[in-house]
C-alpha cells in the first residue's frame, strides 16, 4: 500500500487500518501488507519520486507485491508515472482519488481499479448556507502547498455558483496569524469552508488537522470542511466519504483480485457514497436544529444523554422503581383497605359496646325509674301541697317558699339522673379525651346507688388518693365499671347481708391506675377462670355472655388490661389497669 501522505495523517491511518481488517486470506494463507509513504505534499519533486521508486524496487525485489493499493491521488500519480519501471504488471487499486483526477490521467490502464471518491464542496456549502441564512460571506481558507493550491482553485471554481447569495473571501497564502485574526473578526454573517492546509503563507508546515484546530479555536463563524477526519476539531462538518469506508472498499477489491478475479470482471460502484457528517457539539453551538438534518446525515460526538448511555440500566432501574412503586401502592392500598376494615370493625365494636350499654341500662331500669320517679313524686306532692296551702287562703308565704325550693332541688335531681343516663345510652363517636378518675368513680356511684339499694347491696366506692387523669372515652370506661359492679352485685345476690358488699378501690402509681372491683360472692370456679372474658361465656341463667368480653375489648382499646382473680369461696376481684395521662389535665387529645 502506497500512501501519498505521511504515515501519521489520520486519513491514511484510518484507511490503512480498515484495509488490514478487511483483507482476508489468499488461498488460506495470510496476506502480508506493507505500507509505504510518499510524504506528499511536504516532500516532492521528480528526483525524490524517482529515488523513492528506486527504493521500493530494491526493497521489494524479492517480494514482488501481488496487488498495490494507491492511497490518494499523489500515490496513484507516482505509481502510474513510474509503472513501467516499478511493479509493472501488478494491479493497482486506488482509493481517495477523485473522478476528475482519473479523467485527467485517462486512459487509465484496465488493471488500475478503484472507486473514486468525490469530495463535494458545493453540497457542503449549500447545506451550510441553508443552516446559516444570515451568511453573506463565504470564507474559504487554504494554504500554499500544491495540494492547498488545488483546493483553492477548486473552491474558486465551485464557489462561483454561490456568488449571487454570498461574497467569497479567499484566505489563501496568508500567515496563520493573519488567518486566525481574520477568522476571529467574523460575525454571524459569515460561514467558513476549509479543507485545512499543509503550509501557510509564511511557509510554516502543518498537518491539515492542526490548521483546522487552530482555525476552529479562533473563528467566530462556523467552519465547514470536506473531511470527516476533521470532525471533532471544531468544525461543524460537511459532505464526505469516510476514509475507513474507502479502505474497506479497496480491501474488498484487493480480496477479489487475490482470489483471481480479473480486474475487468469487477463490478464497482460509480463512486464512494458521501454522507453529511456533523459534529453534534458544533451543531448545538451554532444553533442547528437536529430535526432539520437531511436524510442520511450522520451526527458524531453526540453527548449521549443519560438515557442513551445508560438506557439498559435506566430501563432496569425504572422497572425496579415501577415494581417498587407498584408494591408500595399495593401496600398502601392494602393498608387503606385494612384501615377501612379496621374502621368498620371499630365501628362494629362501638355499635356492640353501645348495644351492650343499652342492655346494661335495661338491667338498671328499675333503679333508674326509682331514681327519676322519686324526685318526680316529691315535686308532684309539693306542688299539690302548695295548691292546698294557697286554697286555704291564709298567708303561708314561708311554707310556699320552702315548697318551691324543694321542687327546684328535686327537679335538678331528676335531670341529673337523666343526664347521666343519656351519656350512657347515647350512640356517640368514641373520644380520646383526658378525664379524672375520681369524677368517673363519682358518676359510677351515682348511677348504681339506686340499683345497689334495690338489691340490698352495700356499694362502697373509694376515690383515688391523688386524682389521676386517664385519656380515653369516659362513657366506655363508665360502661366497663358499671359492668364489673353489676356482675359483682349479681355474685352476692341471695347471700347474707354481711356478704352483700361490693367495694371499688384504686391503686395509683405514676404510670398506671388500677381500679379493683371486689365482691365477697361465690367466686369464679377455677375451670371458668380462663373463659370469663370470652364472648358468649356466661354462668348466669339469663346472661348473654357479652359484658366482660366487650369490657375486655374496650379496655384493650384504651391501652389497658383487665383481669380477674378469684379464690372461691372468698369472692372475686376484677382488676382494671389503665395508663395514667402524663400530667394531670395537660395531656392533649390523641387522634382516635
Amino acid at each position: 500500500m502506497v500512501h501519498g501522505n505521511s504515515r501519521l495523517l489520520p486519513a491514511d491511518i484510518e484507511a490503512s487500518t480498515a484495509i488490514q481488517q478487511t483483507i482476508t486470506t489468499s488461498a488460506g494463507l495470510p496476506v502480508a501488507l506493507f505500507d509505504e509513504f510518499l510524504d506528499q505534499p511536504r516532500f516532492g519533486g521528480q528526483v525524490y519520486e524517482e529515488t523513492f521508486l528506486a527504493y521500493l524496487r530494491e526493497k521489494y525485489a524479492d517480494r514482488k507485491p501481488e496487488v498495490i493499493v494507491a492511497a490518494g491521488e499523489d500515490a496513484l500519480r507516482v505509481l502510474l508515472t513510474y509503472r513501467s519501471r516499478v511493479f509493472s504488471g501488478v494491479p493497482i487499486v486506488h482509493l481517495a482519488v477523485s473522478s476528475a483526477f482519473l479523467r485527467s490521467h485517462a486512459p487509465v490502464p484496465p488493471d488500475v481499479v478503484g472507486v473514486p471518491g468525490e469530495i463535494d464542496f458545493s453540497a457542503t456549502v449549500e447545506q451550510a448556507l441553508r443552516w446559516h441564512p444570515k451568511a453573506r460571506i463565504l470564507v474559504v481558507v487554504t494554504g500554499v502547498s500544491r495540494w492547498d493550491r488545488e483546493w483553492e482553485g477548486r473552491a474558486r471554481e465551485e464557489g462561483a455558483r454561490f456568488q449571487e447569495s454570498v461574497t467569497i473571501e479567499a484566505l489563501s497564502g496568508l500567515s496563520t496569524a493573519k488567518v486566525l485574526q481574520r477568522l476571529s473578526e467574523l460575525g454571524d454573517d459569515a460561514v467558513v469552508f476549509s479543507p485545512g492546509y499543509f503550509e501557510d503563507g509564511d511557509h510554516r508546515v502543518f498537518a491539515p488537522r492542526e490548521s483546522i484546530a487552530a482555525m476552529a479555536a479562533a473563528s467566530r463563524a462556523p467552519i465547514y470542511g470536506p473531511f470527516n477526519t476533521h470532525l471533532g476539531l471544531g468544525i461543524v462538518g460537511g459532505y464526505s466519504w469516510r476514509f475507513a469506508d474507502a479502505g474497506i472498499q479497496a480491501a474488498m477489491i484487493v480480496n477479489d483480485l487475490l482470489a483471481g478475479t480479473p480486474p475487468s470482471a469487477l463490478r464497482l460502484p460509480e463512486e464512494m457514497p458521501t454522507t453529511l457528517n456533523l459534529d453534534w457539539r458544533q451543531m448545538r453551538r451554532w444553533g442547528i436544529d437536529e430535526k432539520a438534518l437531511p436524510p442520511g446525515s450522520v451526527v458524531h460526538f453526540r453527548v449521549p444523554t443519560f438515557l442513551d448511555e445508560h438506557g439498559g440500566t435506566v430501563a432496569i432501574v425504572v422497572a425496579i422503581f415501577l415494581l417498587q412503586a407498584g408494591l408500595i401502592a399495593g401496600l398502601v392500598l392494602e393498608r387503606f383497605r385494612r384501615r377501612s376494615a379496621e374502621q368498620i370493625a371499630q365501628k362494629q365494636a362501638n355499635e356492640l359496646a353501645h348495644a351492650s350499654r343499652l342492655a346494661l341500662a335495661g338491667e338498671l331500669t328499675g333503679a333508674i325509674a326509682h331514681e327519676i320517679n322519686q324526685p318526680l313524686g316529691a315535686i308532684l306532692s309539693n306542688a299539690e301541697a302548695g295548691e292546698l296551702v294557697l286554697a286555704s287562703g291564709s298567708d303561708h308565704r314561708e311554707k310556699l317558699q320552702a315548697i318551691l325550693a324543694d321542687i327546684r332541688r328535686d327537679d335538678q335531681r331528676a335531670s341529673d339522673v337523666i343526664r347521666r343516663l343519656r351519656g350512657l345510652l347515647s350512640r356517640h363517636e368514641v373520644e380520646r379525651l383526658p378525664f379524672g378518675v375520681d369524677k368517673a368513680l363519682g358518676d359510677l356511684r351515682s348511677t348504681l346507688a339506686a340499683e345497689a339499694r334495690r338489691r340490698g347491696v352495700t356499694l362502697e366506692v373509694h376515690p383515688t388518693s391523688a386524682d389521676a387523669t386517664i385519656v380515653g372515652d369516659r362513657v366506655q370506661m363508665q360502661q366497663v365499671l358499671i359492668n364489673l359492679v353489676m356482675n359483682a352485685m349479681d355474685a352476692v345476690a341471695g347471700l347474707p347481708e354481711d356478704r352483700r358488699r361490693v367495694v371499688v378501690a384504686t391503686i395509683v402509681t405514676p404510670d398506671l391506675i388500677t381500679i379493683t372491683v371486689r365482691d365477697q360472692g361465690r367466686g369464679i370456679a377455677p375451670e371458668h377462670m380462663s373463659r370469663v372474658f370470652d364472648s358468649f361465656f356466661t354462668t348466669k341463667p339469663t346472661g348473654m355472655g357479652l359484658g366482660l368480653s366487650i369490657a375486655h375489648t374496650l379496655v384493650r382499646s384504651h391501652g389497658g388490661r383487665i383481669w380477674a382473680e378469684s379464690d372461691p369461696p372468698e369472692g372475686a376481684v376484677f382488676h382494671l389497669e389503665l395508663p395514667v395521662a402524663s400530667e394531670k389535665g395537660s395531656t392533649s387529645p390523641e387522634p382516635a
Binding site: Q374, G377, A378, E384, V389, R453
Partner: protein, 206 residues
C-alpha cells in the same frame, strides 16, 4: 269513735317524705314521718286510728319486710304502698299480704287521698270490729265456768231438761244460770244469744 286519724309515712327519701307530709298536712291530715323501717319499729305507734304509707324499696329491710313485721307484731294498721318502680312481683306480694293499695310514684293527691280514705275506713272497720270483739270477749270472760257450760249447751240448741241431765243439776238451776248468761252477755232471747255466739266464733277466728 271520734278519734282523728294519724298517718305514718315511712320513706327513706327525705325530700319525698317531706313533700308527702306537707301534702297530708295541707289536706288536714295528721301525719308522722319515719326515715326507715327500723325508725318506725323503734317508735311503735300509739294504738290510734290511722294507717301506714310505706315505700316498697328502702335500704335495709324493705316496706314489704315492715308489712310482715307489723302483722307479726299485731299492729293492725292498714298499709298503702308507694313505689317508684312497680314490678309485678313485689306488687303481688304486697296485695297478698293485705295492702290497701300499691301506688306508683309520682302519685297525685286525689289518688293518694282516696287510698288513704280507704285505708282509714278499713282501719275504722277493723277498729270497730276489734272493739266489739273485745267487748264481747270481756263479757264472755265474765261468765263463770258453770255459766259457760250452760252457754255452750244453749247455743248448741239443747233445752233446759237436757242440760240439767247432762250437768247433773236441777232444771231450775239451769234456767237461773241461763238468765244470768243472757244478762251478762246483754241479750234478750235465745235467738240473740245464738247470733252472738256466731259473731264470737267469727271474731275468734280473726
Amino acid at each position: 269513735m271520734n278519734e282523728s286519724p294519724l298517718i305514718h309515712v315511712v320513706d327513706d327519701d327525705e325530700s319525698l317524705r317531706t313533700a308527702v307530709l306537707r301534702l297530708l298536712d295541707a289536706a288536714g291530715l295528721e301525719a308522722i314521718g319515719y326515715a326507715s323501717t327500723g325508725d318506725f319499729l323503734l317508735n311503735p305507734p300509739p294504738d290510734r286510728h290511722g294507717c301506714v304509707v310505706l315505700d316498697v324499696r328502702m335500704p335495709g329491710p324493705s316496706g314489704l319486710d315492715l308489712q310482715a313485721a307489723l302483722q307479726r307484731l299485731g299492729v293492725a294498721l292498714p298499709v298503702v304502698f308507694l313505689t317508684a318502680y312497680a314490678d309485678a312481683a313485689s306488687t303481688l306480694q304486697a296485695m297478698k299480704a293485705g295492702a290497701v293499695d300499691v301506688l306508683a310514684k309520682p302519685v297525685d293527691r286525689d289518688t293518694l287521698l282516696d287510698a288513704l280514705r280507704r285505708a282509714l275506713a278499713r282501719d275504722a272497720l277493723q277498729r270497730t270490729a276489734r272493739d266489739e270483739a273485745r267487748r264481747l270477749r270481756e263479757r264472755f270472760d265474765s261468765l263463770t265456768p258453770r255459766e259457760r257450760q250452760v252457754f255452750d249447751r244453749v247455743i248448741a240448741g239443747k233445752v233446759s231438761k237436757q242440760i240439767a241431765d247432762e250437768l247433773g243439776i236441777g232444771e231450775r238451776t239451769v234456767k237461773t244460770e241461763r238468765a244470768q248468761v243472757m244478762t251478762k252477755l246483754g241479750v234478750g232471747s235465745a235467738a240473740e244469744l245464738g247470733r252472738l255466739a256466731e259473731r264470737l266464733a267469727q271474731l275468734s277466728i280473726q
